[in-house]
Amino acid sequence: MAAQKATIAAIRSPSVKELSLHPDLLSGGHRLCAGCAESIIVRQVLLAAQAPVVVINATSCLEVATTIYPYTAWRVPWLHSLFENAAATVSGVEAAWRALQRRGKIPEERIAFIVFAGDGGTYDIGLQSLSGALERGHRFLYVCLNNEAYMNTGIQRSSATPLGAHTTTTPAGEVIPGKLQWRKDLTGIIAAHRIPYVAQTALTPQPLTDLTTKVRRALEADGPSFLNVYSPCNRGWRFEPADTIRISQLAVETCYWPLFEVVEGEWRLTYTPREKKPVAQWLEAQGRFRHLLKPEHRHVMDEIQVWVDREWESLLARTGRAAAKRDEAPPRPAPGHRPERAEPPQTARAAQGEGGAARCPCGASSPGVQWGCLFCGRVCCPRCAYSPEGLTVCARCARDLFGIAEPPALASAERRWISRE
């Protein structure tokens, strides 16, 4: 085992330049959003893999956007079955591969079996299936594309969603400031299965080949391996599509998403930020935390910082960089807990213009009238709003949730709106 550990640790990814010479196994023309991290991650994983690859995909953004029949973006064998069963499915594929080789029905050659699943398919509904497959020891690499919510179904919370984030099932409202719970430590849970290789990684310029190096190491492991890959989603997190990499790097520099690996049980940091940045920098870059900027919700930001510090310190201890401290958990909300009503009520305030008038992104303003979207709480004037059954839904939510085309007045205002968040 020690030999195996040393061998794995010695593996390095080729340079990006060298990787770029490999054929691209995920073609362009798929329907993932512009700026989506998922296709970048998948292409890097496929570029780094040396053995021929067979992909198993759980139901998710990646799956639906890359295989709209009769087209496919995949140049490798690819199988999708359901949302929660990717790990069980790969168990069957891998067992078949062994059995067919033994009977001489397929050539004896190594195949890299790689699962791609979202955080929902991994942290939540697929956890049992994954745990079972890890315990049985099938040889496959499981890549969790962690965008911290159910994006394919329109941004609902998962147990990977951080405290305070707005999702459509944990909406930021006048009383409740987004999700009330911290995220689950899934990477730790996976490491507790004592599989040969577990790592957390992200698309970062610094270090540039963290992801590809970890893919190489994972595929070298003699048994199951797992990568939790941070996967910014501009639609769900509300940032400019061009900022995907910047957000990733911020998550790493704030130690919200540390880069580390667990090789045969030994925890190792693979990158230490020179200076740990305040988590607020990362929070402020994303519209999903916008409501936390309000004075009455600022304490949530502080709580997030506490969680991040605590997890970072415990990681430092686990990796032998610091003495272990008593691990005191910040208070957790009891199920059904409702925070005190935040004062003053906030629907349209954040978007108020200088004169104190609520202002719709189209420019219309109306002093004294509070127009608020039912879903996101943003201001939207009656002209731009979609009003099914007398409800007010802002143009953007109408587009995202109901597929209603937005009024032209908004199209030009849209960019302004996003950048204001």
Binding site: P52, V54, I56, E63, V64, T67, I68, Y69, P70, T72, W74, R75, V76, P77, W78, L79, H80, S81, L82, E84, N85, A87, A88, T89, V90, S91, G92, V93, E94, A95, A96, W97, R98, A99, L100, R102, R103, K105, I106, I111, Q128, S129, S131, G132, A133, E135, R136
Partner: protein
């Protein structure tokens, strides 16, 4: 060369699986089918078969692993019952939708709640629309014979659909019976080798399995599934005939017993046929023209054959070993009505729900049904409900407001 052995239905299933030598089996224990995988696991442990056994952590994962292995290009088998089949439900549709010829032994059992481990057909009926072929065996011999045939049926290029071989929990799964077992080589030669058309593991020809299909193509894909199922009756008959020619036991879509000149008959599936046949022998000696029609294939339902066999009769009773609460009768009854619906002259048709949660079906219960049929055949006024429970702690009363047959 054959061997005569004493085995339970479950052991017979395991024996067939050993001879079939699937490349992969993924399974999870549940009464009354547990013994299938236990026996098979021992075969693997003793080196008597080289199957990759995946002892998964749930039936959902069992069927998921079967789907993965079958897509990879392997021959795949499993077994389950009751809650296990219910937990697989979602994945059953993936197996049939991806046209994967998985073969599964189902020792049928009641569904919770209330929890009950004994036999009835509620579990299998719950998955009757999942796109699987469903064959029902009467006894251990048929479990064995049908599993061997099921592999050929499932893998037939015109079919390529998964098959469930259903047999009654405990009555068949746990009763030790005498049966004839083929030589391994004979069994293997009959089953043949599986040649998957588009295996996932063919690295030279990468395939995309399970894409997103929108309204522009979904209907055509479902239609192809129906066409495959339409081919199944011919293939089931052909394989049953080939089996008979080789080994002397012939199989078709249904089995008729004393039906030639019958005036009244029962339509049923599974082990109850044994009891009913015994009663019919007795009735025949009393001069009553009674017969039995036992369905072997429930999906696809051999509607034309059933209609042809029952058209000349005066009265028919269906024995349904599952209820379909809220419908005009049990699932077999509603299918029978549909099958006979086109006939210009139909026999009177009534339905009895029996044997729920393992309740015994006794010869006197069966006699009671036949005597009602005789009254109906004589054109005597109908005084009872069309659908009712046979043997229940209450006076018989209508199960539904639907009127007489």
């Amino acid at each position: 060369m054959t061997r005569v052995v004493a085995l339970t239905g479950n052991q017979a299933a395991a024996e067939a699986m050993r001879q079939i030598r699937p490349e992969v089996c993924a399974a999870y224990p549940i009464t009354p089918s547990t013994q299938v995988m236990e026996t098979f696991a021992q075969f693997v442990a003793d080196g008597r078969v080289d199957t990759e056994l995946i002892p998964v952590e749930s039936e959902h994962s069992a069927m998921s692993a079967c789907v993965g292995a079958a897509a990879a290009g392997a021959r795949v088998m499993t077994a389950t019952s009751s809650q296990g089949l219910a937990l697989m439900h979602e994945v059953l549709y993936v197996a049939s939708g991806l046209r994967l010829p998985v073969v599964m032994a189902v020792a049928t059992r009641a569904l919770s709640a209330p929890i009950n481990i004994h036999g009835d057909h509620s579990d299998a009926m719950g998955s009757r629309d999942a796109g699987w072929i469903q064959l029902y065996a009467e006894d251990a011999q048929e479990v064995y014979d049908t599993l061997l045939q099921a592999v050929r049926i499932a893998e037939h290029p015109q079919v390529l659909l998964p098959v469930m071989v259903c047999f009654d929990g405990f009555t068949t799964s746990h009763t030790i019976e005498r049966l004839v077992i083929l030589e391994d080589a004979e069994a293997r030669a009959f089953v043949g080798e599986y040649q998957p058309a588009h295996p996932l593991l063919d690295l030279k020809r990468p395939v995309t399995y399970g894409p997103l299909v929108l309204p522009d193509y979904y209907t055509e894909i479902k239609r192809q599934q129906r066409e495959a199922m339409d081919h199944a009756p011919g293939v089931i008959r052909e394989v049953g005939k080939a089996f008979g020619e080789r080994f002397g036991r012939f199989y078709g879509l249904l089995e008729a017993f004393h039906l030639q000149d019958a005036e009244v008959a029962l339509l049923l599936m599974g082990s109850a046929a044994g009891t009913v046949k015994g009663v019919v022998e007795g009735l025949r000696q009393e001069g009553i023209k009674a017969g039995v029609l036992r369905l072997r294939a429930f999906r696809p339902i051999p509607a034309r054959e059933v209609a042809a066999a029952l058209a000349p009769l005066k009265a028919v009773a269906v024995l349904d070993r599952a209820d379909s609460v809220g419908s005009p009768g049990g699932p077999l009854f509603t299918d029978l009505r549909a099958a006979l619906g086109e006939l210009p002259v139909r026999p009177r048709m009534v339905d009895y729900v029996y044997g729920l949660g393992g309740r015994d079906l006794l010869p006197e219960d069966v006699r009671r049904v036949y005597s009602r049929l005789v009254r109906l055949a004589a054109g005597e006024g109908e005084d009872e409900a069309v659908c009712q429970y046979l043997t229940v702690r209450e006076a018989p009363r209508p199960l539904s407001p639907v009127g007489g047959a």
